[in-house]
């Protein structure tokens, strides 16, 4: 198995991250925003794993497990908030939650 060069891994991670980020910005539905966030987290994970394998270090995998845990916790919280949002506003439009407008 030939080694994949680090630049390819980073390009993939950056692309994934940008896609996720654009998703966060352009989607109005909070559920999709959460999903896009997951994509962004996984992009970071890819970068960690790739870097770990290139330098033959376990730290990258440790970080990925941490990120995975974080993602799980985040999704749990996010979905709970989502349910509350649906109950209170009868909608998942993130733009409706703008009470902090100056």
């Amino acid at each position: 198995m030939s080694a994949i060069p680090l630049s390819h891994i980073l390009i993939l991670a950056c692309t994934l991250f940008t896609i996720g980020f654009i998703g966060v910005i352009v989607r109005k539905n909070t559920l999709f925003i959460l999903m896009s966030l997951e994509v962004m987290l996984n992009a970071v994970g890819v970068a960690f794993i790739g870097a770990g394998s290139v330098w033959q270090q376990a730290d990258g995998q440790v970080m990925f497990i941490l990120i995975l845990t974080l993602a799980a916790a985040e999704v749990a919280l996010g979905l709970a908030l989502l349910i509350q949002m649906q109950r209170r506003f009868n909608s998942l439009d993130i733009d409706l939650l703008s009470k902090l407008k100056g």
Binding site: F21, V24, K28, I33, L97, K101
Partner: protein, 637 residues
């Protein structure tokens, strides 16, 4: 023992004031009046005990309470000893006269006031202010330095304001209180500047040593004492309602009658006289100012006499007569006859308090009717009050035998040969005496003789407190002359005897002075015949349609209108012009700047989460870009 009594003198009324202000609303009339009148009684008794300790062997009693603060003339100079301003009392002949008048008459007036104001919903507040006034006045006359004197001076000003506006629900009273406060403030400012100058020149303000220090620094006719004396005179003029700051006194009659008696007749307005008598060392170094004092006094007594002739409110007649009697005191001070002036101060306090309080009793009986044209025929209906009032008027006119006679004749006798007064002022004083007897007779005829002109039934007060205080005051007014010798003796040490030349005096001076009031009485008996007749010959006598001249006199010879035109109107016009204050606008620039920044920042707070995320992303990208460019450029170099 004596010192303790002296130290406690102003504190009895002060304690009573604090209690009344603190718990006044919960106290019954009995408790409140016992407290305030009792405190005054203590003050009066202890002041008489203290005064009796004064003798030729013990000319002064000093008591040091505590050090108030230290004044440094110039902090850089180490050789100048800083002046200590002490809270100390200094009792000598002059302040003895003053404290006996303040606490003695004050006690009687408090007694009267307790009866007069019974039933007022703010009775305890009234008595509290009266007590505070006595505190301030006692501090004023007992102060051993001019700073403490100034404390008392401002204190009486404050109490005067509070008491004139006591019935604050009527706008006229409040305006009168404000006017009194502002007009006297003009004088007080002059006085404060005078004190600053005095301190700058002499380095201390102790009343005791001031004359001695002044004599070592200056000789008569120097410029510094001239200006200082002039500024102090400004203060005295404001407080004592002399020209040109006299306009507040007639309006001050808006206050309850005991206030008029206490403040605007017996005690506070004499503070100016006291100040000049106290500062005689400075004034004697400025002979020009002494003659200004005399001329101001003469002008005021004539002006007030003429204005009093035209008044139709009984209290305003008395107010103008107060002004003219203080004019006499000023005249005598200006002529260098200090003890005569102080003696007149004392007798005037007796009979003017009597006049005001009796007027108060009459007004009470007439259901608060103060208009002389609505009185008439009270001699038979209120014999007690009428008798006492005529005693007061006799003293005011200075008929032989009354207390006013002794003091006023003492003043007039000194004028002709005085170096700072002279024959012209003697004529003024005689003419003033003539005016005094004419307006007194007019008042007497209008109020007590003639036809009954009031509508409601009389309701004379039966309070014993009221009657006792009036009787004691009447007694004092009658026998006040007997104090002449004691007073002159105790004051002789304080005041230098000025050189005078009695040989130049014509023989007829004294007889003319004695006869003048009788001429006035005869004149008014004939001229005001309609006022005293039961069936006036001229039916329109009591219609009170004043001619232009009478209206002019009634309004105090147009001084109010003049000041309104010269000062009040331009000032309020300027204020209106500058309503949007220029300096305000400059300061508002700050506010505008802040508010613009606020608007800009506010627009960034959309509350939309996605915009925040986009902003974070954008900023991160920019940050990364800048870092990358930096590292590239570093690598290139």
């Amino acid at each position: 023992m004596t010192q303790t009594l002296l130290a406690f003198l102003p504190f009895y009324p002060l304690i009573s004031f604090l209690l009344l202000i603190g718990f006044g609303q919960r106290l019954s009339w009995h408790l409140a009046s016992t407290l305030s009148v009792g405190a005054m009684a203590l003050s009066a008794i202890s002041s008489f005990i203290v005064i009796n300790q004064l003798s030729t062997q013990v000319p002064v009693i000093n008591v040091h309470l505590w050090e108030w603060f230290v004044l440094n003339l110039n902090a850089n100079l180490s050789d100048v000893t800083p002046a200590k301003i002490n809270f100390s009392f200094h009792l000598d002949g002059l302040s003895a006269v003053m404290i006996s008048v303040v606490s003695g008459i004050g006690f009687l007036i408090h007694m009267f006031a307790a009866a007069y104001m019974k039933g007022d919903e703010n009775f305890s507040r009234f008595m509290a202010y009266m007590n505070l006034f006595i505190v301030a006045m006692l501090i004023l006359v007992l102060a051993d330095n001019l700073v403490l004197l100034y404390l008392g001076w401002e204190g009486v000003g404050l109490c005067s304001f509070l008491l004139i506006g006591f019935w604050y629900k009527e706008k006229a009273n409040v305006l009168a209180a404000r006017k009194a406060f502002i007009v006297t403030r003009v004088g007080d400012t002059a006085m404060a500047i005078g004190l600053f100058m005095l301190f700058k020149e002499l380095g201390h303000l102790n009343i005791n040593d001031l004359t001695a220090t002044a004599k070592t620094f200056w000789v008569a006719g120097d410029e510094a004492p001239y200006w200082i004396a002039l500024l102090l005179l400004g203060g005295a003029v404001g407080k004592s309602a002399q020209l040109p700051l006299q306009t507040w006194l007639p309006d001050a009659m808006a206050g309850p009658t005991p206030v008029s008696a206490l403040i605007h007749a017996a005690t506070m307005v004499t503070a100016g006289v006291y100040l000049i008598a106290r500062m005689n060392g400075i004034f004697l170094l400025a002979p020009e100012v002494m003659s200004y004092v005399a001329w101001l006094g003469a002008a005021t007594l004539l002006l007030a006499g003429i204005a009093a002739l035209a008044q139709n409110d009984i209290k305003r007649v008395l107010a103008y007569s107060t002004m003219s009697q203080i004019g006499y005191m000023m005249l005598s001070l200006g002529a260098g006859a200090f003890s005569a002036g102080v003696f007149h101060l004392m007798t005037h306090a007796f009979f003017k308090a009597l006049l005001f309080l009796t007027a108060g009793a009459i007004i009470l009986a007439l259901h608060h009717q103060q208009n002389l044209f609505k009185m008439g025929g009270l001699l038979k209906r209120l014999p007690f009050e009428a008798t006492l009032f005529s005693i007061g008027l006799v003293c005011l006119m200075a008929l032989p035998g009354s207390s006013g006679f002794f003091s006023k004749e003492a003043i007039i006798a000194e004028l002709w040969s005085s170096t700072t007064a002279g024959p012209l002022l003697w004529y003024c004083a005689i003419f003033g005496a003539l005016l005094t007897s004419i307006y007194s007779c007019r008042l007497f005829f209008l109020a007590f003789m003639g036809r009954r002109r009031f509508e409601h039934e009389l309701q004379p007060s039966t309070s014993q407190l009221l009657r006792i205080s009036l009787l004691v005051l009447a007694l004092l007014s009658v026998i006040g002359g007997v104090f002449a010798n004691t007073l002159t003796l105790s004051l002789s040490a304080l005041f230098p005897v000025l050189p005078s030349d009695p040989i130049n005096e014509p023989q007829w001076l004294h007889s003319v002075a004695i006869v003048t009031p009788f001429i006035g009485i005869i004149f008014s008996w004939l001229y005001f015949a309609d006022y005293r007749a039961v069936e006036p010959a001229n039916a329109n006598t009591f219609q009170d349609k004043p001619s232009v001249f009478v209206t002019f006199c009634r309004q105090g010879l147009g001084f109010d209108a003049l000041y309104d035109l010269l000062l009040v109107k331009p000032y309020s016009m300027l204020a209106r012009l500058n309503r949007r204050d220029i300096f305000d606008q400059l300061i508002m620039l700050n506010a505008w700047y802040v508010s613009i920044c606020h608007d800009v920042l506010k627009s960034s707070q959309t509350g939309k989460l996605r915009w925040y995320a986009a902003a974070i992303g954008l900023m991160t990208v920019l940050l990364l870009l800048s870092l990358t460019i930096e590292s590239f450029s570093r690598g290139a170099s």
